[in-house]
Every structure is written in C-alpha cells, then in structure tokens.
C-alpha cells in the first residue's frame, strides 16, 4: 500500500514536471521571434542584459527608439543613455517601464516623448504583446498588464503566453527553433538602426484634431511619471520628437507647454527646431517623415546631447576607463551594422530583410 502511494506520488511529480517543461519548450518555440522586419518586439527584453548605470533614460514610442542614438550621445558628449521604448508605447507603458527601470538604476535625467499622450485607451493587442512579453515577471509587470489589456485579452495569456501563441504551430519556421531561447541583439542601447532613405514628399492636409484635450487616463499616467521622477530626484524632460507625422497639433502642444509650466518641467517641441538641428526630411527619414533614419537620428542626438549638457549638466564619462572600454565595443557594433546596412542598400536598393520578406510573401 505504502509502496503504491509512493509510486503514485513519484509518477505524479515526474509527470507534472515533465509536462511543465515540455510546455515551456513549446512556448519558447511558439512565441513570435522578433527578428527581420519586426525587430522592435525584441527591444524591451534586451535591457536586462545591460550593465545598468545610465545617466539618461529615454522612454516612449518609435519616436524615441528610431530617432535617438545613444551611441552618438556617447561619442559626442560622453553621455551614457538607454532607450526603453517599444512600438506604440502608451503613457502607462512608459510609466511602468520607468518604474521597472528605477528598480535597477537611478538616472539623472529621464526623457519622455509626449506623442503617446494622444492615446487614452489600450490600442492594440500586438503592440501590448511586444511590450509586455518583453518584460520580466514582476509586480510592475502585473500592474502594467492590468491597465494595458484590450477587451479580449486575458492576464493568464501574459503569465503563460502559450495560451496566446499556441495557434502559431501552423506557421512555425526554422527561425522559431533557432531563436527559441532568444534572438540576437537588435538594438544599440535601445536604438533600432535604419540607414535607408525615403524622402518626405508632402504631407496630407492637416485637418482639425479629432479632439483637443488629452484624455484623463493619459494625464493620470503622465502625472505618475512626473511624481515618480520627483520622488527619486530625477529631472524629467518632455520632448516632442522631430517626426512630422502623425501630426502634432498646436492645441496639443499648448497643453504640454501648460503642463510643463505647472509642474516645473522642461518641454521642447523639436519639430519647431528642425532647422536648428539641421534635419532635412529629404535625406533624414526612412519612411517619409514618420521616423528618422540613422543620419537624422545622429543629427537629432547631437542636438539633444548639447541640450542635456547645457540644461542638466549631464556628466561626460569619456575619461572613465571602464566605461570607455565597454562603449568601445558598442561603438564598433554600431558602425559594423551601419556599414552592413549601407552595403545592403547599395546592393539591393533596400535593406536585405525587406527583400527577403517580399520574397517570402
């Protein structure tokens, strides 16, 4: 009798452990691999591998991770910075990613890009997944899940993404197996490089904004970002990145101006500084004004570094031997990818990943 019970318990334990393990492996295989043309999905999780001692943390959507190059900030000003951005990162995403980042390190300055203020509700499941699936499990993540979910999403599917991605079994490719335990690094301190050029050729006529006042929810989380920075003695800089589209309305701009004034923050609408920064939308964007390409990002970063140094006196670490050694590698990787992309463009007229993607379709 005792023997039987013992055997039962052993079998049960082994089965449960094996089952969980197999499910975990299956999950690793089934989760989307953010490589190729969807690299932005890999951004959030890359941060965990970093040495976390940055002076500047940048949070926001594609208007930061495509437009600001931390490597340039280092090269030009010796500023250490990291972009914690993800595709269509909403204000509450930004708040929680800041909350999480502050558990690891305490920067001097936090930069927040204000475009996301236009969204007051959860928008897209796909972007939620890119953001939330990248985060390590923590109380912060749980809170972020709660506020981010669109109607049909469930918390369970974030805790065990296999419930969401199980149906990908019929679209698995070699990459899913190759990268089941992680994709190679895609960013340079959170910056996603693009060297191709697609000039701006006029914009759709500017209509009146659908609404003039930002939503309550968006403001609530902006407030939380502001007070979190205050509590931690961090300078908060609000910027509007120089992307010309989606349109940033004057009415919106005024609200942020007012908000910054009320809360004693700096706010710079860099759209108005295009000529100062030297951005030329015929050469400095890869998708006709939505995002800057590398050349635009470098110009913008040069301006930003100067601003950070002038306004907040952010330290220059180029004389720090340990940091210099670390950044030497980063800089090398940066130029290696730049050369790679430029040669691809010279050869194919576009980045190879787009050519591959088209062929696969």
């Amino acid at each position: 009798m005792k023997n039987r019970k013992f055997r039962f318990i052993i079998s049960l334990t082994v089965t449960v452990l094996l089952f969980v393990f197999v499910c975990y492996l299956a999950q690793c295989i089934l989760m989307p691999k953010y490589t190729g043309i969807r690299k932005e999905g890999a951004l959030i999780s890359e941060y965990y591998d970093e040495v976390k001692d940055h002076d500047v943390i940048i949070i926001g959507d594609c208007e930061v991770y495509e437009n600001i190059s931390p490597i340039t900030l280092w090269e030009e000003y010796g500023i250490t910075s990291y972009i914690r951005g993800s595709a269509q990162m909403l204000v509450w995403h930004s708040y929680y990613i800041l909350e999480e980042t502050l558990k690891y390190e305490k920067p001097d300055v936090v930069i927040f890009n204000v475009l996301a203020m236009k969204y007051n509700e959860p928008q897209s499941e796909a972007y939620n997944r890119m953001f939330l699936d990248g985060m390590k499990l923590s109380s912060t993540k749980l809170k972020a899940i709660k506020v981010s979910m669109t109607e049909e999403e469930t918390t369970l599917s974030y805790l065990a993404p296999i419930f969401r991605f199980h149906s990908r079994w019929d679209e698995l490719t070699g990459e899913d197996f190759k990268y089941m335990f992680g994709v190679p690094k895609v960013s340079h301190n959170g910056y996603l490089m693009r060297c191709d050029i697609k000039p701006l050729e006029g914009l759709p006529a500017v209509r009146n904004p659908e609404f003039t006042d930002f939503g309550e929810n968006a403001y609530a989380y902006l407030d939380k970002i502001t007070s979190l920075c205050k509590e931690n003695d961090i300078e908060l800089l609000l910027i509007k990145s120089p992307s010309v589209y989606p349109h940033w309305y004057d009415e919106w701009d005024q609200q942020i101006v007012d908000y910054a004034a009320q809360n004693g923050l700096q706010y710079v609408n860099t759209l108005k500084l295009q000529s100062t920064i030297g951005i030329d939308m015929t050469t400095d964007t890869y998708d006709a004004g939505l995002h800057l390409n590398l050349y635009g990002a470098e110009k913008f970063s040069k301006w930003l570094g100067q601003y950070l140094q002038d306004t907040y006196n952010v330290a220059d670490h180029r004389n720090d031997p340990e940091l210099s050694a670390r950044y030497e590698q980063k800089v090398a990787a940066y130029y290696k990818e730049k050369a790679q992309q430029e040669s691809e463009i010279a050869e194919y007229g576009c980045l190879k990943m787009f050519k591959d993607h088209k062929e696969n379709d």
Binding site: V14, T15, V22, A26, H166, S167, D170
Partner: protein
C-alpha cells in the same frame, strides 16, 4: 459561464476540493450554493424564473402527495362502508384533482418558456420579442423539462416527492446539466445528489479523463471546423453546390463534437463529484436507420418525449377511439398505424419547437416525423427485398451502406438547422443536385473558408481518433483499459491529451470563442 471559460475552470477547482472537505452532511448544500453561484453569474434575472419553477413545482408535488395520502386514508377508513362504485367514483374524483394541480403547475413553467422563448416566433423583430430573448434564462429548456418530468412522475405516483424544497432546488438547478443537459430523471440522480460522497480516486481519474476527452472534441475539432461551417452558411449564394455538401459533413462533425464533448464534460464533472449521470449518446452515427439514430442521439430528450408525450398521447382516449375507427374503416394494416403516426407527428412538431423558436426547426421536426413514418411504411417492402437476398443484412458492406444512408439523411435534415430560414435552406440544399462544382475540392477553394491545410489535417486526425475510439468502445470501456496500464503510462496519456488540447485547441484570440451549440436551446 461557459465550459470553455477560464472562470469555469477556476469554479471547478474551488468547488471540487470544497465538496469533499466539508462535512458529509452539508455536501449537498455546497452543491446548491455552487448552482446558485453559477446561475447568478449568468445574470440575476434568470434566477427569478428558475425560482418560480422550483416553488410552484414544490407546492404542486406536495399537494399531489397529500391528495394521494388522504385518498389512501379515506379508502382504508371506509373500507367496509363504501360500495365498489363509490370507491371508483371517489378515486376518479381524486385523480381529477391531482390532474388539475399537475396541469396548473405545468402551465406555469411551460408558460414561462412559451412566453420567453416562443413569442419571438410570431412577434419576430418587435422590440418586445427582442427584450424577451435578451433575458432568456440560462438552460431554461433543460431545467424546465427536467422538472416537469419530475412533476409528472410524482403525479403518476412513480415516486413520492422530495419534501425539502432546497433539495428540489438542487435537482432543478444542478449546474453541469444546465448548459446542455442531459435532461435527467429524478429517479436517476435525485438520491445521488443528496447522498454523501467520499473522494474516490477512480471516479476522479475517470471523470477527469472524460472531461479532457470532451474538451478535446469541443476545442480541438468542433471549434475549428465551426469556422468553415460559419463561412459556408453565411454566404448561401456564393457557397452552393458541393460547398453545401461539405458544409453538411462539417456541420455533422461540428455538432457531434460540440454536443457530445459538452456532455462528456458534464458527465465527467458529475462523476468526480461521485454522481453518475445517464449517458446521452450511444455512438449515434453507427445507427442504421433514423429511428435507431434517435434512440442513440440526445437520448435523454428522446426519452422525455417518449415517456411524457408520445405514450400519453398514443394511449389517450381520443386516439384509442381514432384507432378503433380507422381499423374498422380502413383495415388492420395502415388503419392500425394511423393513430401512432398522429402521435409521432405531434411529438416531432414539439421536438422541433424545443430546438428553437423558428419555423426551420418546426419543418425540421416534421421532416423527421415524415421520414420515420415513410420508413415504417416501407418496412414490408424492405422485408420482401431482404427475403430475396438472405444474408445481405449481415454483410459489412451493406451495413456501411445503411450507416452512410442514415448519415446522409441526417445531414440533409440538419441543413435546416444551419440556415435559419426555411427558404434559404431548401434553396441551398437543392443546389447540391443542380450545381456540380466538384472542382472546389481540389482547387484550394476550401482553403479560403478560414481554415488552412493543417487545420483540415487536425480535424481529419481528430475525427479518425474519435472513430477509432468509438470502434474500440464496442468491446468495453476505454477508461477501464487505460486504468489497467501502469500508473506512469496513465499519467502520460493524460498529459499528452492535455498538451494536444493546449496547442491544437481553437481557443483564444484569433478564434471565435463559440458557445456550445446546445446551450441556446
């Protein structure tokens, strides 16, 4: 709370341990509370209607039982003094009283259904009908029929009524039965619901296996093929001819897997709780004719209609008179059968209504009756045919033909269930014989219905597995066979099935979360 919702799984995970941990005396109360929770979760308004049914049935059955008791006492006390005629007259009087009580009570509960569910049939599109259908109480067709069966049984004196109204409430609202039956008789589960149950490992594993198997059928196969079914029936003008034929087969697969899967889950849950429910299906697709099919498909509904409608109508005085009349006038053959046919048509008309408050269901019911009657009338012809070819019936090829014929007939009838409009259904069906677009089977058209090649492969493998299991079942319980295997293998089978459901289940974002079809009824 649907069987496939996460909430339901949590509900079970709380209920089952709780049920076995509380003192045995209050186990049934735990079940009752669980039922109440389950019902309230679906909306509090439904609670009113089920309560009305419970209270009126309770009162009626108590009155009937009281009438029985006083009749017995009166007859005993006056055994000597009463003449035979007086006794008979008294008995009749009492019988009529009981009958009145029973009918009054039945009118209340059936009245609720009639108003809630069927006023839409005549008031289609009006705001009133719409507002009614919005508050249609959960499982109303199931609990009403189950409770009315109990009422009639008490009226007939089959059993004495439950004296505790809360115990009656438990019988009426037992949650696994609410979503899609089976419509269970009081004699089958009444006692079991109130009896104490100790945790039993065998019941637990058997129940869990049954539940998993149910989820497999429901989530992996039914919900997947449903996508194609919906695509086909949503565009009757575009998808005709062979598409309809495919739709018929797909719908047969979908309905079978959805319904039997749901019943597997129901029976499995009850088994874990120590309550054994009667089976509702007996490999119905292996039936050789439609009458047999209806004895093997949705058995509980068939039994209900037979016991409480078909027999009472058939042996009612008017029909017996009719029988005498037709036999005298027409002769012993068909004259003998006409009354039975009258009863058959009535029963199937109501069965159609039970399935839905729409004309297509009524037509469906009447067609069922027609086919049953025609095959009954043709049976001498068949007998003659078979007397010329003795032994043919035993040939497996002929049996396959019979099964195929039955399958085709049932699929054809179900077209009425797919297109919820009689005209569209007939039109779509007729294109099978006018439009021979067989090329769609090979030119990839079927891949444009929302399912990929691999989805069809999953459905095919799943169906193959179900057929294999059904064939194996004929030689005994599969779970008995599994139970004889070493514990490690048992658990591996378990884990494998769970894993398959997890990966290949058509659930979550990207799949329509579909309700069990039979919940709507």
């Amino acid at each position: 709370m649907l069987f496939t919702s996460l909430g339901f799984l949590v509900f079970l995970a709380v209920l089952i341990p709780l049920y076995f941990l509380v003192p045995k005396k209050i186990q049934w109360i735990v079940l009752l509370v669980a039922n109440a929770f389950f019902y309230v979760y679906a909306g509090t308004r439904g609670l009113i209607f089920i309560s009305v049914t419970i209270v009126t049935t309770y009162i009626a059955t108590m009155v009937i039982s009281h009438l029985y008791a006083s009749q017995e006492k009166y007859l005993k006390d006056n055994k000597e003094s009463l003449s035979k005629e007086a006794k008979k007259a008294y008995k009749n009087k009492m019988q009529q009283k009981r009958r009145l009580v029973m009918i009054l009570c039945a009118v209340v509960s059936f009245g609720i259904i009639a108003v809630m569910k069927y006023s839409g049939l005549f008031l289609r599109g009006t705001e009133f009908a719409q507002s009614l259908s919005l508050i249609l109480p959960l499982g109303i067709s199931y609990y009403t029929f189950q409770t009315m069966g109990y009422l009639i049984d008490v009226y007939r004196g089959t059993y004495s009524p439950e004296k505790n109204i809360f115990k009656l409430a438990l019988f009426t609202s037992f949650f696994p039965l609410l979503l899609q039956g089976p419509i269970t008789r009081f004699g089958d589960i009444g006692k079991q619901l109130y009896e104490p149950h100790t945790f039993n490992m065998r019941n637990f594993t058997y129940g869990l296996e049954r539940i998993l198997w149910g989820y497999f059928k429901k989530v992996v196969i039914a919900d997947r093929i449903l996508i194609a079914v919906k695509a086909i029936i949503s565009e009757p003008d575009e998808y005709n001819g062979v598409y309809v034929l495919c739709g018929m087969v797909f719908y047969a697969i979908q309905l079978y897997c959805d319904f039997t899967g749901g019943i597997d889950i129901t029976i499995g849950i009850a088994q874990i709780l120590g309550i054994s429910l009667p089976e509702n299906f007996l490999r119905p697709f292996f039936s050789k004719n439609i009458a047999e099919y209806w004895r093997r498909w949705h058995i509980s509904l068939g039994v209900w209609f037979r016991e409480y409608l078909f027999y009472p109508i058939s042996v009612s005085k008017p029909l017996l008179k009719l029988s005498k009349f037709t036999r005298n006038k027409i002769g012993n053959g068909i004259g003998m059968r006409i009354p039975v046919y009258v009863a058959t048509v009535t029963v199937w008309f109501i069965t159609g209504l039970w399935h839905g408050s729409a004309w297509n269901f009524i037509v469906w019911g009447l067609l069922n009756a027609a086919i049953i009657i025609i095959s009954e009338e043709l049976s001498p012809l068949y007998a003659k045919f078979h007397s010329h070819f003795p032994g043919l019936k035993q040939k497996w090829l002929y049996r396959l033909f019979e099964i195929g014929r039955m399958f085709f007939i049932m699929c054809s009838l179900r077209v009425l269930d797919c297109y919820r409009n009689v005209g569209t259904a007939f039109k779509a069906y007729s294109t099978i014989f006018t439009r021979f677009n067989y090329n769609i089977l090979t030119d990839g058209s079927l891949l444009k219905l929302g399912l990929g090649v691999l989805d069809y492969v999953v459905v095919f493998c799943g169906v193959a597995l179900i057929i294999t299991i059904s064939l194996l079942q004929r030689t005994g319980s599969i779970r008995d066979k599994i139970a004889k295997k070493p514990i490690g293998i048992q658990m591996a089978i378990f884990a494998a099935l769970l894993f398959i459901i997890l990966i290949f289940g058509a659930y979550g974002i990207g799949y329509d979360s579909s309700q069990f079809i039979y919940t709507e009824f």
